[in-house]
Amino acid sequence: MSDANSTHAVAHHAPPQGFIRKHVFSLDHKVIGLQYYGLALVAVFIAIFLSWLMRIHLVWPNSPIRGLHLLSAAGAPGDVMTPEYYLSILTMHGTLMVFFVLTNAPFAAFGNYFLPIQIGAEDMAFPRFNMMSFWLTFVAFCVLISAFFIPDGPPISGWTAYAPLSAVGGAAGPGLAYGQTLWGISIAIFCIASLLGSLNFIATTLDLRAKGMTMMRMPLCTWAWFITACIALLAFAVLLPACILLCLDRVAGTSFFIPSGLVINDQVLPHSGGSTLLWQHMFWFFGHPEVYIAILPAAGIVSHILINSLRRPLLSHKVVIGSMMAIAFLSYVVWGHHMFISGMNPFSSLAFSFPTLIITIPATILTLIWLGSIYGSRLRITSASLFALGFISLFVSGGVSGFFLAQPSIDIYLHATYFVVGHFHLVMGVAAIFGVFAGTYFWFPKMTGHMMNETLGKLHFWGTFIGAYCIFMPFHYLGMVGNVRRYSTFVDDYLQPYLGVHKFITIAALTTGAFQLIFLANLIYSRFKGPKAPVNPWECTSLEWTIPSPPPFDNFGGVHPVVYHDPYQYGIEGSTGDYVMQTDPANIVVERDEK
């Protein structure tokens, strides 16, 4: 509970000078947050474009896609996509989305911008580390994208890069020579950036809270960012050595992941002693917590916005925080559910399946608390609250398909089918993104001083909500019939009857992607021409709504805020009053009847 004047405090009291210091190499957590957001925006549009190419190819496999040869002459001779280029696009789509969108936007972008403000701090604990973490992320992005421009193209092993395919080098296929090494380097740099970022979040949360801001008085999104940073610290710490070992196998002749006796092109590979399962264990030890890194901040943001829209706190602040912590803890002991049929000991599969099923419980608690809090509330519908409500629907949809995949016996049938792809897209690819959208519509006025256009926002919501269900719900049905994933073309006999479903999905994907252009247009237009935003347009109680829109460089103008309440002093049982800011010493009219 040290205040902002302690020795841990930030060393800049003077405003930044000059264009470079203000907008490029900025130490200001707000600018860094926006930089992360901008990077995520670029990454998401590239990744959406790649997904369009994939969907078009799946439905019209041997037809030319006009202009594709400009992206890759080798990958699209005569504009017809080759099987390996499909896999390159698939790999880059996944890598961009999981790392540069889903880790960046809900966590790094919004967390950087709002965590310090919501706890009453002037900036993060280590602004220089913070700046480094963004620019390292940017370098990682550039290294990854450069794989598009080398002759053999990006790697073809998927974002999961399983060994030995990813480890043996170019003999195993195009894109597996330099492309895979670039991927390994990019992700290793990303890991370092994330570790720096997480350190910052944790130190800031523990040390820089304003007077009166106890841990339990932090908003739920702050809690979510803090918990996520703890997960990220341990998870990325394992992915980093995994990527280094992979690169060593590729360029230094080591054999961490390559056993002996492998034959490619009739040549025996000169490796021995490695374990392919070791890569899977290391990757998924990171990979499973990673998906909670993607969803928890979104859940926190949605909780915060939902409370504001409901004009009442959730049924229990403590239980929500406890559930998030339970999810975070359990996320470390379930990674083997990605490996049920991987060849690891089948007893391990059973062992992993139990915590995987149990993680349903805190997730259900969260969902029931959200739903139960809507009861008896005074729900206000805005673009932000629509996305928050949509998040709940998508979290449920994506979550229940997890029931199936958590059981090894059912996984025998559903593993590596479109059922899995539908599951993770609904819960990560859509629900988490809805958290980002909700956060954007909610916090845009604070960050820019302008309001976004509500009509366009609602239109964006409807197109995306209905469109996303049209795309990803059918994936589950395809999974039920055993449609295998990561196929560049559907040549198997049993898949032929389902090509019509794939066509429907492709049209939905193209349409839903197009709706995102409305969002982009709204962002850009409103940034410059949107109506001026008041200090607190949503009548929200947390600290960011006590300062100007946009905030000054040191957030609170040199004043150290003092906090008197928890962040959710909205009208409660029996009350007709509405809200009290955290910094307002006045008490809400009626006693709280629950904590």
Binding site: A172, L315, G376, S401, E594
Partner: protein, 267 residues
């Protein structure tokens, strides 16, 4: 607009459930001895997950319909029981349900992985390599000849790296591109990968198992219905992954014997 949201959510929930209720996308027909346990598990899970899905979406819809943009501000009310009820519901209802699924589901898993094949099961080896499956039968001596990675030669169809000139056991091994099995006979399938990770998946057989380079694995199954079924690779193995498949031909014993004779003559 809150009411519109409620209606859309409920419609989406119903529309999503219809293909399941009407069995538009059924699982592939089960032709295995052990598959019924998996199918029962699937049906139980579908019922419970389906109920949870519909209940949650309907609750979301109803609550938003009732409480969004209310003209009469009214008092804010708390859901009866508050958070305690939610925690109890999650732990008791969902908790017991998922644990039941997990415990019951053990049987299907145990049947496949903790129960060894019968001693008289027919042993066949399958090798996965970019981008085809090949199969090897041990022949009359009942033994598989050793594999020599340095002798693998695709041009002469020596996919297994056999050396019949020097290895006696290899001479009667039968290598095929199709997995021929007699119906109702338990098969012990040894799995070997030539190069990278692959996976063996036959939907109708309810069998899926990864090939792990460096680790020789085994699955066992009994096919109960004659016919031709596709074996497809489900572990991303390179550019030809989409085109990596073979046919499993389940035949009567007489047909199998005739097929084996034909294959021996082609060696």
């Amino acid at each position: 607009m809150g009411k519109l949201f409620a209606v859309v959510v409920i419609l989406i929930a119903i529309a999503s459930a219809i293909p399941i209720f009407l069995h538009w996308y059924p699982m592939a027909p089960d032709i295995s001895a052990h598959g019924h346990l998996i199918d029962e598990q699937m049906a139980d899970t579908m019922a419970e997950a389906g109920f949870a899905f519909l209940a949650a979406q309907f609750l979301l819809g109803f609550f938003v319909f009732r409480f969004a943009d209310r003209k009469d501000p009214g008092k804010i009310r708390t859901f009866p029981g508050g958070a305690k009820v939610m925690v109890a519901a999650a732990v008791i209802l969902v908790g017991t349900e998922v644990l039941a699924l997990g415990i019951l589901g053990q049987r299907a898993w145990a049947g496949q992985y903790f129960t060894p094949p019968a001693p008289d099961a027919m042993t066949i080896q399958t090798q996965a390599g970019q981008f085809a499956f090949y199969f090897r039968y041990p022949g009359p001596d009942g033994k598989f000849g050793p594999q020599h990675p340095d002798k693998v030669n695709e041009g002469t169809q020596n996919y297994f790296g056999l050396d019949p000139a020097n290895d006696v056991e290899s001479r009667d091994d039968v290598v095929t591109a199709e997995l021929g099995v007699p119906v109702n006979k338990e098969i012990r399938l040894l799995m070997h990968s030539k190069d990278v990770g692959h996976s063996f998946y036959v939907r109708e057989l309810r069998v899926q198992q990864d090939f792990v380079p460096g680790l020789d694995l085994m699955v066992h199954f009994t096919a109960t219905k004659p016919g031709k079924y596709e074996i497809v690779c489900t572990q991303l193995c390179g550019l030809g992954h989409y085109n990596m498949k073979a046919y499993m031909d389940v035949m009567s014993q007489e047909d199998f014997d005739a097929w084996m004779k034909q294959k021996i003559s082609e060696q």
